[in-house]
């Protein structure tokens, strides 16, 4: 469906995107990951022809961009907002008509979606009367109402309550099964881990990791330990047998040194704290992310990168 090859974008002095390539097929979800300022949004904007790459090529089903392709993609920008004074339905219909949708069809689908998102009773209210989360739902509706083949969602989950996150996840899976290509960028690695088929991790404008999620995890080996314990775990990062430790409250993800044996490590740890669970596993995406884009410090309570 979408093929981005070796694109590059320079802003006066900053090289925002350097030689990024990625491919998404129909029925696939690609997770575009990376720290703030990595070049995710710039990449997305180049795909959407909002800005032009300095070098490289972007094709859709093998064809270069032309104006008709615009009707075939949907976009949810990272920072959200809508026309405050306009009513919900009018706003949705406006963007639908910009995508070349016929009005009655657009209206019918808009009602369906509003109903699904539990917003039907406020279709005639101005957008500003809605809560932030509800506005986000409206924006999401706008991005998929015209049934685009390519859906690009920038941080779709942020700002939604758990219930709506589940609803959104269900819809994404439906879209995937309708053979649409989906790109979504996120900072929440667990989200990406559960939803994505393929990954593309960008840091400082370059792709540092890509491929299918399972393959990526395999590549990072099996020397990861998930540990649950009671007690003070701060000593973990001092152990010689542990390469890296991400320590949370009563939970730690440890990456062992290549030579060290898990049972030795367990014995060592058990002397200091009360071990509840000790599990060898593949590394989480979070750990891979941190290993690749720079470790912000092993004792940080939360490693989720927030805006």
């Amino acid at each position: 469906m979408l093929n981005v090859s070796h694109v590059r974008k320079q802003y006066s002095t900053v090289l925002a995107v350097d030689d990024v390539s990625l491919t998404v097929q129909r029925g696939q979800i690609l997770g575009l990951l990376g720290p703030n300022g990595a070049g995710k949004t710039t990449t997305i904007r180049m795909i959407l022809n909002i800005i032009r790459p300095d070098a490289g090529m972007i094709t859709f089903d093998g064809k270069l961009f032309d104006e008709t392709i615009r009707n075939n993609w949907g976009y949810l920008p990272e920072e959200r907002g809508l026309y405050r004074k306009s009513t919900l339905l009018n706003t949705i219909l406006y963007f639908a008509s910009l995508k070349g949708m016929e009005k009655n069809e657009a209206k019918r689908r808009a009602y369906d979606w509003l109903k699904r998102f539990d917003l039907l009773n406020c279709f005639n209210q101005p957008v500003e009367a809605l809560s932030k989360g509800n506005q986000q739902k409206v924006q999401f509706i706008i991005s998929i109402l015209h049934q685009p083949h390519l859906v690009i969602l920038d941080e779709p989950f942020s700002g939604l309550d758990p219930l709506n996150q589940i609803l959104l996840k269900d819809i994404l899976m439906e879209l995937k099964h309708q053979e649409r290509a989906i790109i979504f960028s996120t900072h929440q690695m667990d989200q990406a881990e559960k939803l994505c088929d393929i990954l593309c991790l960008i840091s400082k404008g370059r792709v540092v990791l890509d491929g299918e999620v399972a393959a990526v995890k395999n590549r990072y080996g099996n020397n990861t330990v998930h540990l649950e314990y009671d007690g003070d775990g701060s000593f973990l990062k001092m152990l010689a047998s542990i390469k890296t430790a991400h320590i949370y409250e009563n939970f730690a993800e440890l990456i062992l040194e290549d030579h060290s044996s898990p049972s030795d490590v367990l014995r060592e740890i058990a002397q200091k704290v009360d071990v509840k669970k000790f599990e060898m596993s593949q590394p989480s995406l979070n750990a891979i992310f941190l290993a690749l884009v720079g470790n912000p410090g092993p004792t940080e309570k939360t490693t989720e990168v927030t805006q």
Binding site: L48, I50, Y75, G81, Y83, L98, I142
Partner: protein, 414 residues
Amino acid sequence: MTKAFVVARWEYFEKIKSKAFLISLFLTPALMVAMSVLPALLASRADTESKVIGIIDQSGEVATPLSKILEERFKLPDGEPNYILQPIGQASDLSAGKRIADSLVLAESMEGYVVVGKSVMTDSIVEYRSENIGNIRVTENINSALRDLIVEKKLTAQGIDPKIVKDLTKPIDLKTIKLAKSGKEEESGFGQVFFTAYIFMMIMFVLILTSGQILVRSMLEEKSNRVVEILMSSCSARELMTGKILGLSGLGLTQMSFWVLMGLLLKLKLAIPMIPVGSLLLILLYIILGYVLYAAIFVAAGSPVSTEQEAQQITSYLVMILVIPIVFAFTVTQNPNTTLVKVLSFIPLLSPSMMIMRIPNQMPSVEEIVLTLILVALTAVAFMWVAGKVFRTTILMYGKRPSLKELLVLIRAA
């Protein structure tokens, strides 16, 4: 290009409901009427009650005939005399008379009073004393009555027939007739010509300013709520810009038609019936060109803006350029043929308003009209082109406004 129309339709129907538009729609004509018609109306409004004017006549010859003249000439709408002349005190004791008169004026039972000296027939000096000497109508009327009276008396004293005197002293009624190139003549004065030119210029200003402001504001809103990203992913920058300008032009036209209609309904025969249809169409052409020209400027100036303050700043700079021609309004009406006026007419940004002021006054030569029209049209096209570039490159910029140098680099790169 159909997407441009989708944008235009949205801009038109959403903005027509906006407060800014409704306010300008109703407030502007109200303000224009208030500013131009009301002062004139108030100043020329007839008195409704007779005014008492005192007189201390030391010559003994003035009071009675003056009273007669005032009574004949100036009547209230209901037929009562406008001024009642009231002799005060003894002619022999001037200071006592003045004291009485002063107290009457201060007590507001008298508008003012006239002191006629003994030697009025030789030195023609008369004093008018009042609390309110700014009332030009009163002083003007008393002045003219006195002048006529004294001239008449002097001439009669020379032994001239009072009938001839009356004929000789008949005041001159100066009628000003405006000659048009076609040879038609019409009665109109400086005030009317000035007013016509002014009204059309004002219409253009208000159109440009309201739409300009709405445009900058809407771009600012789309920018701050990031809707612009969805828009830019849905249609090209050119379609978006074209749509916005089309929608706003629609708003401008609606505004103008509404005002014309309102003017006709109120039978406020403002300037429109006073000028020939040809001139009117030409003026409208200049208004439209000027509108497009400034719309392009507003797009270019407004797209890099990302805060309300910047928007205000930009608009006020543009307003300053826009109002420069007002400074020349008087010159143009008085001397439409000076080199200065002609040169100013060829500066694209000023050209539309200069020509709008000149046309009702004295039709500029055909060459001038054709050249300025071409000039303004070309400039508008060039500005649109630049605006498109600036729009595309800066509409996604947030935060710091680019310097002019950065902007030039960006435009070249786009």
